[in-house]
């Protein structure tokens, strides 16, 4: 019906739909109402913006787009890291690079501001240059590149973390705003600390199910989370009776009345509704709405999700609204399919390191990613003076 309303059906498909309507008057009525709704929406006018708007916009703009013309100090720092990386890999000779580095560091020195910031102001930078004079030596060694962010520095010495930052998939996902926001949020990192949740998220079916907004909305209720883990709902879903009953006005009434339950024409549903937990859960319209979606019903019958939902830890994690909201984002769900990321999220220290904005900024650099592959820069970044 959706596709028909959008005019996306072929003539043959439309004909088939019309044939279906001929024998289903109630569905036809629903379709007609929806078509009229679309018609009413089509009559909404596009209004003109106020005449002053363009002038206001143009007057509010800075002189140039902020990131396009002048390289940030961090970008320059990355250049320094790359230069040093090239020395390690033999692409450039130290004696030549020494001069380049002095120039670049001088630029950083003034780009960051004068007088120079205190040591604490450099916290949180990757490859932060300690002192300009340090780079004047023609002989560059690993001690020249220092990670000042303590959490990140520690993480870089961890095998799991090294594996993670080498993952191209992770490098790409980290550039997504939603993924980044999730990792930067302490509450979300805490939620993702749940072993049960991370285990569940390795299954595509679970991630797909959590992508359904109606299901996520329903999961805010403890009764629903309990019912989703129970056998009664499974039995009802398996029989198909529940699906049929969801459009029946009798179902809602039957949830509060034992006699009405007995009079329900669906035998399997009558049996399933003997379970009080299921009845309580179905009183929430959000769950009833969610169950109208075929993909939700299918996902809830998936053994991976069923098993996962039996974990009280997982149900507790899903009670977190911030987590549910974040899981609405497909990129984040995809990111959580990366085994290395799930592994890293199991450690409190690594979770903290993942929140570092500098890590994200650094991993945005194609050159840095390339350097990570050869391992030289990676070992250099681990050194702390």
């Amino acid at each position: 019906m959706n596709r028909s309303l959008n005019g996306l059906l072929t003539p043959l498909e439309q004909e088939e739909l019309n044939e279906y309507f001929a024998s289903h008057a109630d569905v036809r009525r629903e379709y007609d109402d929806l078509a009229r709704t679309a018609g009413v929406l089509g009559r909404l006018r596009n209004v003109d913006p106020p005449s002053y708007l363009k002038t206001s916009i143009m007057n509010s703009l800075p002189s140039v787009p902020s990131r396009s013309t002048v390289a940030s100090p961090l970008t320059i720092l990355k250049e320094v890291i790359m230069t040093i990386s090239d020395v390690f890999t033999g692409k450039r000779k130290p004696v030549v690079i020494g001069t380049v580095v002095v120039v670049v560091v001088a630029i950083i020195y003034f780009a960051i501001g004068y007088p120079p910031p205190g040591a604490e102001d450099l916290q949180g930078t990757i490859g932060g240059a300690q002192k300009a004079t340090k780079y004047r030596s023609a002989q560059v060694n690993k001690k020249d590149v220092i990670v000042k962010n303590a959490a990140l520095q520690k993480a870089l010495q961890n095998d799991k973390f090294q594996k993670l930052i080498k993952s191209t998939e992770f490098q790409n996902k980290l550039q997504n705003e939603a993924v980044w926001s999730a990792l930067a949020s302490e509450a979300l990192r805490e939620a993702l600390a749940s072993d049960a949740l991370r285990d569940a998220l390795k299954f595509a079916e679970v991630r797909e199910a959590l992508g359904n907004s109606e299901l996520r909305e329903a999961m805010k209720f403890a009764e629903v989370r309990e019912a989703l883990a129970g056998d009664a709902l499974q039995a009802a879903l398996k029989s198909g009776d529940l699906q049929a009953a969801l459009n029946s006005a009798d179902l809602q009434a039957a949830l509060n009345n034992a006699e009405l339950r007995e009079s329900l024409k669906f035998a399997d549903l009558r049996e399933a509704l003997k379970n009080a937990d299921l009845r309580e859960a179905l009183k929430h319209s959000e769950l009833r709405e969610a169950l109208k979606f075929a993909e939700v019903r299918e996902a809830l019958q998936n053994s991976s999700l069923r098993e996962a939902l039996k974990s009280a830890d997982l149900r507790e994690a899903l009670a977190n609204s911030e987590l549910r909201d974040a899981l609405a984002n497909a990129e984040l769900r995809d990111a959580l399919s990366i085994a290395e990321l799930r592994d890293a999220l199991s450690s409190a220290e690594l979770r903290e390191a993942l929140a570092s904005a500098d890590l994200r900024e650094a991993l945005a650099s194609a050159e840095l990613r390339e350097a990570l592959k050869n391992g030289e820069l990676q070992s250099a970044m681990q050194i702390q003076e």
Partner: protein, 185 residues
């Protein structure tokens, strides 16, 4: 054609050519303003939001990737800004029942009244459903474009659109704007 023109205007804007960005503002201020207006339900707020959208777009222009259409990227900023605005106002769950059902449109309802009544009905939807209606119906974007803008899988977008239509239909019927076989106007 428009896409390649936009890409060129973006390139010039990145070099600090404000005139080029001005052309993009001319081209897209109306759809951005209408997206914001139908999402937040207020013209003054929509104008402010449109200004913020273009300012942010200009500031982040270097992060724009030409794999997407410029207007899709702009809509994405517009929708996110509108949602953030509503969250800030804590009006996400607010329902405006100010229009009584008896104000339903009969044959003589003017187009301005239709607009006001349907616009108010739209505001009764939660922002999640409203944005889908705004993009797919009012801005007539494809599923693919709307999916990108809302950062949703296409399957979720389709099911959300279906639910949004049903909810809106119920609101329109409840308000008497839509009833029986006859629509307003």
């Amino acid at each position: 054609m428009i896409e390649s023109e936009d890409a060129e205007l973006v390139r010039r804007s990145l070099k600090g050519d404000k005139e080029a960005f001005g052309i993009l503002v001319d081209r897209y201020q109306k759809p951005v303003f209408n997206t914001a207006f139908r999402t937040v339900g207020n013209r003054e707020d929509a104008a402010d939001l449109t200004q913020v959208v273009f300012l942010k777009a200009f500031e982040r222009l270097s992060s724009y990737k030409s794999t997407y259409k410029f207007f899709s990227w702009l809509y994405r900023i517009a929708v996110n800004e509108s949602i953030n605005f509503l969250k800030a106002r804590k009006q996400l769950e607010e329902i405006d029942d100010s229009l009584p059902a008896e104000e339903s449109g009969g044959e003589g309802t003017s187009s301005e009244e239709v607009d006001e009544l349907v616009g108010a009905a739209l505001q009764e939807l939660t922002v999640e459903y409203r944005t889908v209606i705004v993009l797919c119906h009012l801005q007539e974007l494809s599923y693919k474009e709307a999916s990108y803008i809302l950062d949703l899988p296409e399957s979720t977008l389709k099911s959300r659109l279906f639910t949004a239509r049903k909810l809106l239909k119920d609101i329109l019927i409840r308000k008497g704007i839509l009833s029986g076989q006859r629509t307003i106007g």
